[in-house]
């Protein structure tokens, strides 16, 4: 079995590392220090960790106030309460005022699992992406989580980082993987279709690729941990060279990666954009429910076979009978 690690464990570790590097760094939490793992920072730097209690709106504006004094502030809660409940504080006190606050939201998406729909935030990327100047990141393993946080600490301005709850396959180096604006990594090349994913879907994207490889077809796989600003070159190349694009995200199909890619395609000044096919895998404008994450993903269409069927139906209708699943 591949080496697995939860993003929030990586987050806890990198916070402590950054705390050593930046003496002006503060970390805020809203009564979830053990879940978000900011407790790791709290143990090493208690004087720079502030528990705000179950009051996320206040926490975001407190974060802004601390940032006005020349500090880097990381503020964490579950995505539902960070981006959801505190949306307007993020919009006005953090982003409009351009305060140096990094919002690291854990437990995003359906993969929260058993807690159910009230805790499965499927709208945060859309909310955060629509705020002017906000950088929106959705890293996909422990290595890119650490790299995203290192980047955020260095970057002057608001950043939203979305993390999930589950352990994920490690495919980026935790120490050396580098991260920048418009980060997008082509993990495997191909010409039949392009699968672009963010968050917890490295394994799923690779399974789709393997299914096609068995049938002698190559799928391009792109990890897109930077949702805003999106890497338009990678999208443009996919449009020109593969003509079918699949996006996979643990988010509503409205507002997140699928929307960002759709916008990029629509605005590209190349003739192929008129014939390209886009398949958005994600929550199809629904709320989730309780269940094991694996069961939920199956139910809502996050399966390699289902995705492969959609690709074939789009690229080569009628070819399904010749395809070995």
């Amino acid at each position: 079995m591949a080496d697995m690690k939860a993003q929030r464990d990586a987050y806890g570790e990198v916070l402590a590392e950054l705390g050593r590097k930046y003496p002006n760094m503060f970390v805020l939490d809203a009564d979830l220090t053990k879940s978000t793992k900011t407790v790791t920072f709290q143990k090493e730097f208690p004087e720079r960790h502030i528990n705000c209690g179950i009051a996320e709106g206040n926490m975001m504006a407190v974060a802004a106030g601390i940032a006005t004094c020349g500090n880097i502030v990381f503020a964490s809660s579950f995505a539902m309460f960070a981006a959801g409940r505190a949306y307007e504080q993020i919009r006005n006190s953090v982003c409009y005022a351009h305060n140096n606050v990094k919002i690291v939201a854990t437990h995003a998406g359906l993969t929260v699992g058993e807690d159910g729909a009230t805790h499965q935030c499927l709208e945060d990327l859309g909310l955060m992406r629509s705020i002017p100047g906000m950088v929106v990141l959705a890293p996909s393993d422990a290595g890119s989580t650490k790299a995203a946080c290192r980047f955020a600490a260095e970057y002057d301005g608001p950043v939203y980082i979305r993390l999930g709850r589950l352990p994920l396959t490690k495919f980026n180096d935790e120490e050396n993987y580098k991260f920048g604006l418009e980060q997008a990594d082509v993990l495997a090349d191909g010409d039949f279709a392009t699968v672009m994913f963010c968050g917890p879907f490295y394994d799923l994207a690779m399974q789709v690729r393997e299914l096609f490889a068995k049938n002698g077809l190559n799928i391009r796989v792109v990890d897109v941990p930077c949702i805003k600003p999106i890497n338009r070159t990678v999208v443009k190349n996919a449009v020109k060279e593969t003509k079918t694009i699949v996006t996979i995200e643990d988010h509503n199909i409205y507002g997140g990666l699928g929307s960002a890619v759709a916008e990029a395609i629509a605005e590209e000044d190349i003739p192929e954009r008129k014939s390209v096919e886009l398949i958005r895998i994600g929550a199809q404008d629904i709320f989730g429910k309780s269940g094991a994450p694996k069961e939920l993903l199956e139910r809502y269409g996050f399966s390699a076979v289902e995705i492969a069927k959609k690709i074939i139906k789009t690229v080569c209708p009628g070819c399904e009978k010749n395809f070995t699943f």
């Binding site: 503060f26 004087e47 720079r48 502030i50 705000c52 209690g53 009051a55 709106g57 206040n58 975001m60 504006a61 407190v62 974060a63 802004a64 106030g65 601390i66 940032a67 006005t68 004094c69 020349g70 500090n71 307007e88 504080q89 006005n92 006190s93 409009y96 005022a97 351009h98």
Partner: protein, 269 residues
């Protein structure tokens, strides 16, 4: 300049700016003018030469719609030319309808959405405590603003972290846009609630300069808890026809009303 005159000049600039722009919030701007006058003219360590001094006292106008009050104090203190008050709320200017810290020197926090400024002030104060900074943090809030739940989250935070470097002025003028606060959604009793939330509470006449000064002294001497100064004020104070009339919350005077207002402010101070 004597603070009495400073406040009078602030009031003139406030009504002039709102008259020129044809929009703004005269009622709540005039009710907190004396508090802001004492803070800027006597109390706070703030200098236009070094508006970003890390050790400066911080001021947050949590009731951001009283932007004209803050701007008038900043202009009189030389943070920008008085002449610039003419650009208040205008496309060509930087004096936004609600304070913008990125554009205007001397503005320590962008505010406007009620309830958020007090949280940001708590952030400044908690950092000051943790980093052992010498500055104090002052916030001015509206009484209607207290209807925002976030204020009470912030008050809990301020008391929990013993922010004795934070002093909150509550501009208790009794009116909000839709009418009397007790009829719209009563936040009363304010002093008792603030006490229950762990504040050192002082109740004063918010237009009496000596009472404002005494409250500031009391706040500075109080250790281990934040201070709330509940200021009984008159909405529209200084302009007879605006006083205690809710509709002057967000209405600009016409030419005749403006001239009358200036005459009254000059006569009464």
């Amino acid at each position: 300049m004597e603070t009495r005159d400073f406040a009078k000049n602030m009031r003139k600039l406030i009504v002039e700016a709102i008259y020129n722009s044809g929009s703004g919030h005269p009622g709540g701007s005039l009710s907190c003018a004396d508090i802001v006058a004492v803070l800027f003219n006597e109390e706070m360590n703030k200098s236009p030469e070094n508006p970003c001094d890390p050790n400066r006292d911080r001021f947050v106008m949590s009731k951001g719609h009283a932007a004209a009050t803050l701007y008038s104090a900043l202009a009189l203190k030389g943070f920008f030319p008085e002449e610039e008050m003419k650009t208040f709320r205008k496309m060509s200017g930087r004096l936004e309808g609600h304070p913008d810290m990125k554009k205007i020197p001397g503005v320590d926090m962008s505010t406007g959405s009620l309830g958020q400024g007090i949280s940001a002030a708590c952030g400044m104060a908690v950092y000051g405590k943790r980093a052992e900074k010498p500055y104090r943090v002052y916030a001015v809030m509206g009484d209607g603003e207290l209807e925002e739940g976030q204020c009470w989250e912030a008050f809990m935070f301020a008391a929990h972290y013993k922010l004795d470097n934070l002093c909150v002025f509550i501009d208790f003028n009794g009116l909000q846009i839709d009418g009397e606060i007790t009829k719209v959604m009563s936040p009363l009793p304010i002093p008792e609630k603030m006490k229950a939330f762990g504040f050192n509470v002082i109740e004063i006449d918010g237009h009496n300069l000596d009472e404002i000064r005494a409250a500031l002294k009391n706040a500075k001497e109080t250790k281990g808890m934040p201070t709330a100064v509940v200021c009984h004020t008159v909405k529209g104070k200084g302009v007879s026809f605006m006083e205690n009339v809710a509709s002057w919350h967000g209405t600009a005077p016409n030419k005749e009303q403006y001239e009358q207002a200036v005459k009254e402010i000059e006569a009464n101070g």
